[in-house]
């Protein structure tokens, strides 16, 4: 599969619908401290099925929902959509009948998260399996969060072997 586009709506500081086009090769993201760069990385991890609120730097998963500024009220819903090119048909059988895959994760205050793939409701497990099949996922070593680049070498030896197994 190829990752084509990420759309955030009401996710952390991205209150208005915002599209990140992901092209071939190297895409750089720049901007001042606190402007929202790392929030984009978290949106990508989140749509791929992240279950830990701590990895979203919050105390509960609802911390990903836009919580307002001095001029705008908080929102109640956060949604992230990931557009994949599936023309090589690498997805699991039940999701593999089209060239494009559109994965949506949505969370509503007091109602929890829900997932959709190409408009069909699916479970978190289905989304996690989809990504595991194409060697990526919310916990992949290929997603290096800020300040965590040395985590791999500082981890305990058995932890490192587990990461190697996942990468195998």
């Amino acid at each position: 599969v190829q990752f084509n586009k990420l759309r955030l709506t009401g996710f952390k500081s991205f209150v208005e619908a915002t599209d990140l086009e992901i092209g071939k090769g190297l895409t750089g993201i720049i901007g001042p401290n606190g402007c929202g760069k790392s929030n984009l990385v978290e949106a990508l991890r989140w749509v791929m099925g992240e279950t830990s609120a701590k990895r979203m730097r919050g105390s509960g998963m609802e911390d990903v929902i836009f919580n307002g500024t001095d001029r705008r009220p908080a929102r109640n819903i956060a949604e992230v959509t990931l557009h994949l090119d599936n023309s090589k048909r690498e997805a699991p059988a039940e999701l593999n009948d089209s060239d494009e895959l559109e994965i949506v994760r949505r969370i509503e205050r007091d109602k929890g998260s829900s997932y959709k793939v190409n408009g069909k409701n699916v479970r978190a497990k289905d989304v996690q399996l989809l990504f595991a099949d194409v060697s990526i996922g919310a916990n992949s070593p290929a997603l290096v969060s800020q300040g965590r680049v040395a985590d791999l070498i500082n981890a305990k030896p058995t932890q490192r072997r587990l990461i190697l197994e996942e990468a195998a």
Binding site: K24, T27, I30, L40, S140, A142
Partner: protein, 164 residues
């Protein structure tokens, strides 16, 4: 599962050694399973030796050396089983200019040789200049993030405009 792990270990170990000496301009590094007879329950040790120095415990390495060693291992694992996307959030922060240059050269090589798409978040002007395209995140309205495309030839325009 056992054969798969041992096969992955061999491939990762080989490319870890190669990437380490590429990034350090010499030296050597290798991995070892603490219990080769029972790989599925074993630990994974890392041995590394920057050029001209003795082989030493990783904790004695400097901040920049630990980052480079870690990048070599992450990319070694990643090359064994390439993912469609790789995201790097300010991995160049602890590096001096000549190491930023080496990491960028390696990134360009990996992007050219495979299908993986890379998203690289950085404050380093040198890294910005090596990207294929640049997006800027601004908070022109405080607390609200927006994404804009940035003219590669003028990253300074962007930085100055938004930093105000």
């Amino acid at each position: 599962a056992r054969e798969r792990l041992v096969a992955a270990f061999d491939t990762v170990n080989k490319s870890f050694g190669e990437l380490f000496s590429l990034l350090f301009g010499g030296g050597q590094a290798y991995l070892e399973l603490t219990d080769a007879d029972d790989p599925l329950n074993s630990g994974l040790e890392i041995y590394a030796q920057p050029p001209g120095k003795k082989c030493q415990v990783l904790s004695l390495f400097s901040g920049g050396e630990q980052t480079l060693t870690s990048i070599a291992l992450i990319f070694a694992m990643f090359l064994t089983n390439p993912a469609p996307i790789c995201v790097l959030d300010e991995i160049d922060a602890p590096l001096d200019d000549s190491n930023v240059d080496r990491v960028c050269t390696l990134l360009e090589k990996m992007a050219a040789e495979g299908d993986t798409r890379f998203i690289v978040i950085t404050h380093h002007r040198m890294t910005m200049a090596r990207m294929d395209r640049l997006y800027g995140v601004t908070m022109s309205e405080r607390g609200v993030s927006q994404l804009v495309s940035v003219d590669m030839s003028q990253p300074d325009m962007f930085e100055d405009a938004i930093a105000a």
